[in-house]
Symmetry: C2
Subunit: 130 residues, 2 copies
């Protein structure tokens, strides 16, 4: 029936940003490219050979990662050298930790809070058990 959201995370626009970034890295090829770039700068032909994918496909995925700001390019002649954008990687780490970090798990999880009132209507997160 769609009322207004009552959870903190539900209203947080940061969640959209994080999910957008996660969507970019949730492709297995792109995840592998990122993982690979930790070892240093790479050109397209190396990604291509390293992941055993075609040149246009490598170029495409690198473009998506770049568009998302996760990597950056350095051009030299006909070569394009791609590397991680360290600030973006650090921001991603921070956001992931904030939303899904295992440190967030409470000691007594799940703290047995009930959910719905006897009448059946959903209660707000702040409302205690009746």
């Amino acid at each position: 029936m769609a009322r207004k959201p009552i959870f903190k995370c539900a209203a947080d626009p940061e969640a959209d940003k994080l999910s957008e970034t996660l969507k970019v890295i949730s492709d297995s090829k792109r995840l592998r490219i990122l993982c690979t770039l930790f070892s240093g700068e790479k050109c397209v032909c190396e990604i291509e050979a390293g992941l055993a994918i075609s040149q246009p496909l490598a170029s495409h995925h690198l473009g998506v990662l770049r568009e998302a700001g996760l990597i950056k390019v350095r051009k030299e002649g006909t070569w394009s050298y791609y590397a991680l954008d360290l600030d973006a990687i650090r921001r991603l780490n921070a956001a992931f930790k904030e939303y899904l970090g295992a440190e967030r798990i409470p000691e007594d999880y799940p703290s047995n809070t009930t959910c719905c009132t006897p009448s059946g209507s959903a209660r707000g997160i702040e409302k205690a058990k009746t």
Copy 2:
């Protein structure tokens, strides 16, 4: 032209698993549900109201999260109480750290390694600059 992969991460089947999980959590609604469940067990009607989405949609996303093993259900009468699967959350944290953890960034990144031989063919990651 697609040769065989030469990067470690490129051959690692764990990358497929992680990307699969990331795909599940990269939906903004599901990310918000997970984030919400850190505060404790919730029933469908609470998720529904908390995120301001329809009942079938809430049920659907919870099903996807459950299918992925990230959350678990406890049924009581007509109610379904969902909670985080703590082991899964911890595994996700570990995998994320292993693949994209900021700790992986080398001191001198990017260590200026060249990429392609003068002849233009890609070199393996272990092969040094000519």
